[in-house]
């Protein structure tokens, strides 16, 4: 018999082992729900799968009585719009500032201390200020995501730019490149795949800021919804919403990963 550390699961076993914990969790949930319902049929804490199904049908497939919209899709649309614009703006800022501070020492000298200070401010503490300045509309939510994520992206991409081998810069100079050409042709294309990686790492924080700002002041959105129905203890809505948010986060992450592999094959193969 081989040592335990040398035993590799076959692909079927691997899939089975991967799904197993999820199935177990669902079974435990089902059991807990049944036990509580047996004690108190009105129990709301652990709704059964039938209740969850009904709630979903109400949220996702039945037009709302008040507005005539399919609430879950409207929530998803609003939230994704905020998340994507926030992350896209932060990525643009992160790329530009990170690349320039890393590439041009004069920029780096004047901006890195400021960026370090900004990155230490807890973004949630700024939320009231954002509401005061930008109102409670879309802008403040997007800005919160930008403020929360951009400093990390800047610092990470600054680091990645500085890490590129010095030899490459010297080589470019011996090929006659000026600073701008080096930035556009040598640094930027090599930093882009690293931007994808940093954005993937920062998505968790972006979701956090999105849901937090929706919870505080909003009229739609996934975060808004779960905090709204909390008042009625509607676990049958909250739980599937949380699962849906998780699925969305997972899909976005996959999308970025696949996109990066497609766009930068040389980066992924060389690692």
């Amino acid at each position: 018999m081989k040592r335990l550390i040398n035993r590799q699961p076959s692909s079927v076993t691997r899939a089975f082992l991967g799904i197993l914990p999820l199935v177990l969790a669902l079974l435990v949930y089902q059991w807990g729900s049944t036990v509580r319902k047996a004690e108190n049929p009105q129990d709301k804490l652990l709704p059964g799968f039938v209740e969850i199904h009904d709630a979903m049908e109400r949220m996702a497939l039945t037009p709302s009585k008040r507005t005539g919209e399919l609430l879950m899709w409207e929530d998803t649309k609003s939230s994704l719009k905020r998340l994507v614009s926030g992350v896209a703006i932060a990525a643009a800022i992160g790329l530009t500032v990170g690349l320039l501070t890393g590439a041009i020492p004069l920029f780096g000298a004047s901006l890195t201390p400021v960026i370090t200070v900004i990155s230490l401010i807890p973004p949630m503490a700024l939320l009231p200020i954002l509401f005061i300045v930008f109102g409670i509309g879309e802008v403040s939510k997007v800005v919160l995501i930008v403020i929360g994520v951009a400093p990390f992206l800047i610092r990470d991409l600054y680091q990645r730019t500085c890490e590129l081998p010095r030899e490459q810069l010297v080589k470019s100079m011996t090929l006659g490149a000026n600073s701008g050409q080096i930035i556009f042709r040598v640094l930027l294309p090599q930093i882009l795949p690293r931007l994808f990686a940093s954005v993937r790492l920062s998505l968790g924080a972006a979701w956090l800021f999105l849901i937090a700002s929706e919870a505080v002041a909003s009229t739609d959105g996934l975060g808004y919804r779960i905090f709204l129905v909390r008042r009625y203890m509607s676990m049958d809505v909250i739980l599937p919403y949380v699962a849906w948010i998780t699925l969305l986060a997972f899909l976005i992450d996959c999308l970025l990963q696949q996109g990066s592999k497609r766009l930068f094959p040389w980066y992924h193969a060389a690692k």
């Binding site: 081998p165 030899e167 490459q168 010297v170 080589k171 470019s172 100079m173 011996t174 090929l175 006659g176 490149a177 000026n178 701008g180 050409q181 556009f184 042709r185 040598v186 294309p189 090599q190 930068f264 094959p265 040389w266 980066y267 193969a269 060389a270």
Partner: protein, 260 residues
């Protein structure tokens, strides 16, 4: 063409090169050898312009050499000489694109076609034509270095600097590469400075052999004295005897720990 005048280089208290003087004519092929850490790379960096001399001067055609790397001096490092995000062909074309696309270093249309054709020509001369659409990570170490050479040559530099370019390659491939460099040097009338860590291999290469070593040695404080050129031999006149002599003298100084 190049003159080194009483050149000194130190990093704070660490004297790396001391009182080095020499003259090099156009078209020479100089092989540099010496123990590890004796300052060969530092010497190339001075020529390249990424480091400046502490005292003394380097004159190129009578004028002080630029203190920033430029297209008149090509370089091949042991590693990281090629750009991983460009294909083989794009790597070679890049030097010309910088010339023709002043802002973004990009050219399009027929100008690009001409540049690519020129790149293909250089790839042919280093034997990389079949690999021209691949990325560097798909190449072997030897092929990557061939690419780095073609990439440098497209600019037709006055000086070609090679810092242990084949140090990471297998001996057999290293021989082929030496052959390649020699034939390119012959064809294109290059002036070459090549550092190699293997004395016996470097010995028969090129036109001139320089051995870097310390003349004075302080065992307690090895950083007190720097290296200089201790042997300067025309390669045509090299023989077994002088090879043994150099080997012996290098072995002697290698026993005394070199400052790190």
């Amino acid at each position: 063409m190049i003159e080194f005048r009483n050149l000194w280089k130190n990093y704070d208290d660490n004297v790396v090169l001391e009182n080095l003087s020499a003259q090099v004519g156009s078209g020479e092929f100089i092989t540099l050898v010496g123990t590890s850490g004796c300052g060969k790379s530092t010497f190339l960096k001075l020529l390249l312009g990424t480091e400046v001399t502490s005292r003394g001067s380097i004159l190129l055609d009578g004028r002080p050499i630029a203190d920033e790397p430029g297209p008149d001096r090509g370089i091949v490092f042991q590693k990281y000489s090629v750009f991983p995000h460009l294909t083989v062909r794009e790597n070679v074309a890049l030097g010309r694109e910088f010339e023709c696309g002043p802002i973004f270093g990009r050219v399009f249309g027929s100008a690009r076609k001409a540049i690519l054709a020129e790149a293909d020509h250089w790839l042919e001369s280093v034997g990389l034509t079949p690999a021209r659409h691949r990325y560097p990570h798909e190449l072997s170490g030897g092929m990557q270095q061939r690419l780095a050479i073609a990439q440098a040559l497209i600019k037709q530099p006055r000086l070609l600097l090679l810092d242990e370019p084949f140090g990471a390659l297998d001996p057999g491939i290293r021989k082929d590469m030496h052959q390649l460099v020699l034939s390119l040097w012959g064809q294109h009338k290059l002036t070459v400075f090549m550092v190699t860590h293997d004395l016996s291999e470097g010995f028969y290469l090129g036109t001139r052999l320089w051995v870097f070593d310390k003349c004075r040695m302080d065992p307690q404080a090895p950083e007190r004295f720097g290296s200089t050129i201790t042997f300067d031999l025309p390669v045509g006149k090299t023989d077994r005897q002088s090879l043994d002599k150099i080997k012996e003298s290098l072995a002697r100084s290698a026993q005394i720990p070199v400052a790190v």
